[in-house]
Symmetry: C4
Subunit: 279 residues, 4 copies
């Protein structure tokens, strides 16, 4: 009996190794295949929304979509089965994404239009970093994430200020421009103000009165100037994060004169000349 249980465990371990890890050839092959299928499936969902192909093409896409979805469903259950504590996977970030990647097609039986939601699968592409096994990439990603996290509070304060400016300038533009030139109500004016301040500038709405154009110029120059703020924050934050790693890597202190901040390749204290290694 214990052998049988061991067998099952062995089978589960094998599946776990293939699905969850990417160190063995089989595990790597599985992950690469998975990524190809994810990319294919995103392309298929996109193409399905394009009008103008032959009727047959949609049939092929529909079948391909179902094959991939069934594969993803099987993979999802395999992941649940092969892990010791399934709840840990199910409620993890990837677990939820994997579920959301299969549900929409099943839901499309009951509700039309949900199939397009399958592009949530794009999030599964984040697995690519795991497959590449390039810790460097993940490391960079983590460092980036850290820099962004450190800047979060500041950037929120900044965005909050931008929003207040947009609400007030939007209202002003609504009053100044009137409704003929596209500023038909305050929400639309605020929307236009965000479009302008962020230097996107669609041009579907544009001021026509001289004073409106003057105000628009002020908003633009404001937007041009304040884009420096988030950039400056992230620059400084990122530089600080990088400096921390670069500068104080050597924590040695001389046993003779206690001088610190030795260069990495130092053998002797730069202050008193004592040997650092035999210290």
């Amino acid at each position: 009996m214990s052998i049988s249980k061991d067998k099952i465990t062995g089978w589960k371990q094998k599946v776990h190794e293939i699905i969850y890890e990417a160190d063995t050839p089989a595990g790597k092959l599985f992950d690469v295949l998975l990524l190809i299928m994810i990319i294919l499936s995103i392309i298929f969902v996109m193409l399905e929304s394009v009008k103008g192909f032959e009727e047959k093409t949609y049939d092929y896409l529909y079948v391909a979509e179902w094959i991939i979805t069934i594969f993803f469903t099987l993979e999802y259950f395999a992941r649940i089965v092969s892990i010791n504590r399934p709840s840990k996977y199910i409620f993890s970030f990837y677990g939820i994404i994997d579920l959301l990647s299969t549900l929409p097609l099943y839901l499309s039986f009951f509700m039309t239009g949900t199939a397009a939601l399958l592009t949530v699968r794009a999030l599964r592409l984040l697995r690519v970093f795991r497959v590449l096994k390039v810790t460097r990439y993940v490391g960079e990603s983590n460092k980036l994430a850290k820099a962004i996290k450190d800047s979060k509070a500041k950037i929120l304060v900044f965005l909050f200020a931008v929003l207040i400016v947009c609400i007030m300038m939007g209202t002003l533009m609504y009053i100044v421009e009137g409704e003929e030139s596209g500023f038909k109500n305050i929400p639309v004016s605020v929307y236009w103000c965000i479009v302008t301040l962020t230097t996107v500038g669609f041009g579907d709405i544009a001021p026509v009165t001289p004073f409106g154009q003057f105000l628009a110029a002020v908003i633009m120059i404001l937007g041009y100037g304040i884009i420096a703020v988030p950039t400056g924050i992230v620059s400084a934050e990122y530089a600080a994060a990088t400096n921390k790693n670069i500068v104080h890597v050597n924590t040695q202190s001389c046993w003779n004169c206690n001088a610190k901040k030795h260069q990495d390749m130092a053998k002797h204290c730069y202050n008193c000349g004592e040997s650092l290694r035999n210290g």
Copy 2:
């Protein structure tokens, strides 16, 4: 008599605590309610400008607007009454905003169109930082404000240079493009030049002659290049502000003269010359 006066003072203190502070549960509740009402009122003012709702909706919005305004008016007087020196509140930044947040609706009896000015209430949202009681946020906000203030002179010089460029390039475009392609006079050309230099690019006016397009390309590349200037300024300024905090990590203080902020490698007090190590 003195007891009665004490009572009033006590009552005033209680109101002051609720309205001005956010440390007690009552004070916090008041501030949160206030913020909700500010947000609601901004949404109401915005919706009121949207055409196409039923007649009834506008009636509801009108009533809601009045209820909130009366509440704000009462709050304004409560703030004046509960403070010892009312003038200090009335002429403060928040005092003026609070007044401007109630006036427009009263003015709308005499002048039409002023109701939209109620969105000045958006400025009241700045109180959110006080409610959050997250000194961290305020601290960040102050640091940001400091960095921007330090960069102000430089950014003014920069914007001044940008304006001179825009006036001259705008005139050139007016001469080159002529009036058929939207560059109908110099102010409009200057406006277009600002739109282009800031990389907004509405497209309501666009050059059509080859030489005009060449000039436009020059302006765009200029704008693309000089956006680096304010960004660089704020980055450096912000990094400097951050570094200042980093550099003086040495928390030693001289046991003799109590001087602080010693350099990391200091052996002697820079102020009195006492040895720091054997102190």
Copy 3:
């Protein structure tokens, strides 16, 4: 005779003081009046190009323009007369600008359309920094100018690379999109490519074929990514310039142990404890 010569010299000195300097009350008043006239004249030139005013307004503007131009002409000659070596003024940056600020109106007798060139007067506004007597501003301006000058070589290399990319991507778009969708020849395609890469995006020309839109997306992401390059250069350059000024301000070295880089407020050597002042 020598007295008469002294008189003339004295008269010349007086005029020189008023026109060229801004330290005496008369000199400051003159400069402020000059700035006001420059600003007024720019506004007048701009307004003159606007259609739709009454006939009379143009007459007034015409007269005002002539009065200011005559004043500027007189000022120009006064500057030449009151300086010892007139050639030094005439061929200086401001001398040439001052000449160009008066010529166009005189030329408008012979050639139409030259009057608009009067906006070159905007360059005269650079005098504002002298009037403000805020060395701080000029200092900032110089520091900025230095940072930009230091970055010049790098930014030229960068812009050169951008231009090569634009020429090749523009040609590609011309081949891909064909002539129906606005990409009517290669120069226009290159122009569009610059518009897109700099994130201006007028929208007067936009790709319509799927492959053209794909290429456009590549160009945009490229432009979004490489805007980081000039910004990064100026940031680093500016930070380096700022650091140099901040850190090594104190050039003292201890007479006892020769330690350098003392803090500004240091009285004693941080290394050996010797007094720095009495050294």
Copy 4:
């Protein structure tokens, strides 16, 4: 015989000197002429695509194009002949570009439309740095290239994240906006999303429903905020590269072990412990 061989070698060396190098007057002249011809030929190719000239002009352009191409072909063969190991040139970066710069015109006999590909010649302009003989420029270019190379991994991670965001937001916009307002299928919506996130904003497609405009505002603010990320990365990376050069300004080398790059405050060699001052 050996003399004859020497002659040939001498002749080859002479050609090599002229074509490959730019130190001798002849070599410099050749390179400058080459650059002028490259620029002219790019201008000719561009002009050829412009409609509306006289018939004769196209004939002239055609002839000029052929003359330049034949010259480039001769130059290409001269380069192959005058080098000892031709394969080293043929498969080098410049060798391939030089070939691609002549082929399209010959191919235009067989395929129409290939002549426009001649603008690949723009890449030949990179030779300008060699002609300028300004090592400074090349140095800057290398430094830039290094900074970009160091940032590559991070920027790839960033662009990957941007792409995933664009795919998902594009799908959402497709669902929200429907097909009337230009979001006719998912690929186009994703394209629009890239246009918006990178703050280009053509305006050929723009949201019209309130919720679509709200989503667009979110995308824009996102794009406005995250442009800080690549900028911050390059800034920090570039600053780090610059700092590396700055930090090791100390040009001392130990008289005992010849170790270089001592810290500014070092008294003893970090490598062998010898005193640096009394060395």
